[in-house]
Amino acid sequence: MKENLMDIICCPLDKHDLELDVTERDDEEILAGTLTCTECGETYPIEDGIPNLLPPDMRDEAPA
């Protein structure tokens, strides 16, 4: 994902802003990291450049 996606994405649970923590980057692309809700503290992974913002109750059901 590109960093400007932060302009629109939010926590799927309470719709509050997310804090970005990047662990792997390739030029403009964020390949790995986490997004943490500034309100409820829920953490969402970014893997292979795709942020997983499924609500936690769907995250475990969804195919990896």
């Binding site: 913002l53 769907m58 969804a62 195919p63 990896a64």
Partner: protein, 190 residues
């Protein structure tokens, strides 16, 4: 919350892109042009491999899907992707100009929840555009039978029924394109 047909899609992502209808951009544009003001940021919800986003000339499409396999394909085409639930969209209030749901609503368990999530995400004057198949047409009845045969738990709506549900969700709703495939558009009052 039901995942609907997500697992099936994950397994068939590649084959799906070859088999399904190419999204005809004209049938989507007739809905998008109803928006007041320009459509720049567009959420392609249930967008899968991003066929509709690729067919349209919108500056900033973002593909949202619950199935990760589909999103990998979309990302491979250079599209912005977010794994998320259509009924609990992970985007800020009034942050997008348009929400598009192309050939996907019949796979979603909570249609009113999807419409409500779109209403929250779209700015005033923005538009929700849904492309669906009409089950009351002859070809539609065949499609319903075929989807159930391959294991999809699909629920199809006739054009007027879906328009009424979009209207009930707070949109000024219309059916700008009719037929076996039809388009329902809803403009968020500004």
């Amino acid at each position: 919350m039901s995942l609907g047909d997500v697992g099936v899609f994950h397994r068939f992502a590649r084959a799906y892109d070859r088999l399904m209808y190419a999204a005809d951009p004209e049938t989507l544009r007739v809905g998008l042009t109803l928006a007041e003001g320009p459509v720049e940021t567009l959420l392609d919800v249930g967008g899968g491999t991003g066929r509709a986003s690729r067919a349209l000339d919108v500056p900033r499409p973002v593909v949202v899907d619950a199935a990760r396999g589909m999103l990998r394909e979309a990302r491979g085409h250079g599209l912005a992707t977010v794994q998320g639930d259509a009924a609990r969209l992970p985007v800020a209030d009034e942050s997008v100009d348009a929400v598009l749901v192309v050939d996907a609503l019949h796979h979603m368990g909570d249609v009113d929840g999807v419409i409500a999530a779109a209403e929250r995400a779209v700015r005033p004057g923005g538009v929700l555009v849904i492309r669906e198949f009409d089950p009351t047409t002859l070809r539609g009845r065949g499609l319903v039978a075929a989807e159930h045969l391959v294991g999809f738990d699909s629920q199809f709506y006739a054009a007027e029924a879906l328009r009424d549900r979009v209207a009930a969700g707070g949109f000024d709703a219309s059916v700008p394109d009719r037929g076996f495939g039809y388009t329902v558009a809803g403009v968020k009052p500004s």
